[in-house]
């Protein structure tokens, strides 16, 4: 499990880790042994803590009840319970997600999904918390205008994984590249332009706060980056039953496209650039093995 792999990095950040589910201690022990899990897997076997937190999945029981045939209930079943239909197994489970808590138990951030099959990878949560990752499978490049490093938050992904491509950019001295808003002035905003795939969807890019640059020759104010910055291109692996059957047959997914940007210094604006990029991610199917009993 990815969370286990990130345990040391989280501990270095002073963060404890625990997971809660409705499984019995025996099921959790078996799972921990099979996967080498050392952090606490907590057993909330009567779902009381899940209910106390207010995140009990009530759609599961609704789907099994008298309104099970209601089209709205059916739609929610597919979103929150199972793409394979209502199942008594889900009754008592939470809506899956992650809370980040401070020392006093206050929520500092939370990561929940509106489709039960989509999950943030642990690395993606860490990126969003500003915890640095050590780049793995990184692409590095240098042009006349900038240096960049690009890498995926995870080298292997699964059905519904929400992960990121990370782009770290360092503009050359005196050089700036464009942030969102600059397109109004006719400039190319920096970002990935990836070829669409049926197996993943691309979320809007998360940009760092830009600075406003005054370009004297044209007497205009433009949002730019002049210092080192990072942007995140979030990607969600398709979690439909069809995508799952396609992914099950594949070992890897390659995302290809370009890193596009335009750079200017205080006198000259260079032509927009497109640098080819490609990221290959291993496909790992979820563990559907049941506990040994």
């Amino acid at each position: 499990m990815e969370l286990q792999e990130q345990l040391d990095s989280l501990a270095q950040e002073g963060l404890g880790v625990a997971a809660i589910s409705y499984d019995s201690v025996e099921v959790l022990r078996d799972f921990a042994e099979r996967h080498g899990i050392t952090f606490p897997l907590l057993s909330d076997s009567d779902s009381r803590v899940i209910s106390d937190f207010g995140i009990l999945n009530t759609v599961a029981e609704e789907g099994l009840g008298p309104n099970g045939d209601d089209p709205e209930v059916q739609a929610d079943i597919a979103r929150y319970v199972s793409v394979f239909g209502a199942s008594p197994l889900i009754a008592g489970t939470p809506y899956p997600g992650t809370f980040m808590l401070d020392r006093r138990g206050r929520v500092t951030s939370r990561f929940f999904e509106e489709f039960y099959r989509e999950r943030n990878t642990t690395s993606n949560v860490m990126l969003k918390l500003g915890v640095g990752l050590s780049p793995i499978a990184a692409l590095q490049g240098e042009t006349a205008h900038l240096k960049f490093t690009a890498y995926p938050s995870n080298t292997s992904v699964t059905v519904g994984s929400r992960f990121s491509l990370v782009l770290e950019v360092e503009p050359a001295p005196n050089m700036h590249v464009y942030a969102p808003g600059a397109e109004a002035g006719g400039y190319r905003v920096i970002g990935f332009n990836l070829e669409p795939t049926d197996l993943a969807r691309f979320e809007p890019v998360e940009y760092a706060e830009p600075e406003i640059y005054y370009f004297a020759p044209l007497d205009e104010h433009v949002p730019v980056y002049q210092q080192r910055f990072t942007l995140l291109q979030e990607i969600v692996m398709d979690a439909s039953a069809e995508a799952e059957s396609i992914l099950a047959e594949r070992d890897a997914l390659t995302l290809s496209g370009t890193l596009d940007y335009q750079a200017c210094d205080d006198a000259i604006c260079f032509l927009p650039q497109s640098i080819p990029v490609s990221f290959t991610l291993e496909i790992e199917m979820p563990d559907r093995q049941r506990a040994n009993r």
Binding site: A18, P94, T98
Partner: protein
């Protein structure tokens, strides 16, 4: 519902306006409750469920995979913790 308005109703309405005002009100109430029953199912919005940013989560005491008890406060590191809720380790 329309069957309630028979031809005679209009006559009665004129002969006994107060009584009919009540039955009209009753009819409106029935209609209103029928509409609200249809709309009573709230769509799920997971983002709004459970403790929000800035709120304190409930304390708990639960056994781990080795039977060791843990609470919210015993699990936190110096800067807090990551608390994951998942569906099951069993399927």
């Amino acid at each position: 519902m329309l069957a309630l308005f028979r031809a005679g109703d209009m006559m009665q309405l004129m002969s006994n306006p107060v009584k009919h005002l009540f039955s009209l009100l009753a009819l409106l109430l029935v209609l209103a409750s029928a509409v609200s029953a249809q709309d009573s199912r709230q769509p799920v919005n997971v983002a709004a469920l459970g403790p929000q940013v800035g709120e304190t989560v409930p304390d708990f005491s639960l056994p781990d995979q080795n039977g060791v008890m843990h609470s919210r406060d015993s699990l936190g590191g110096a800067r807090g913790m990551l608390l994951l809720f998942h569906r099951s380790a069993d399927w």
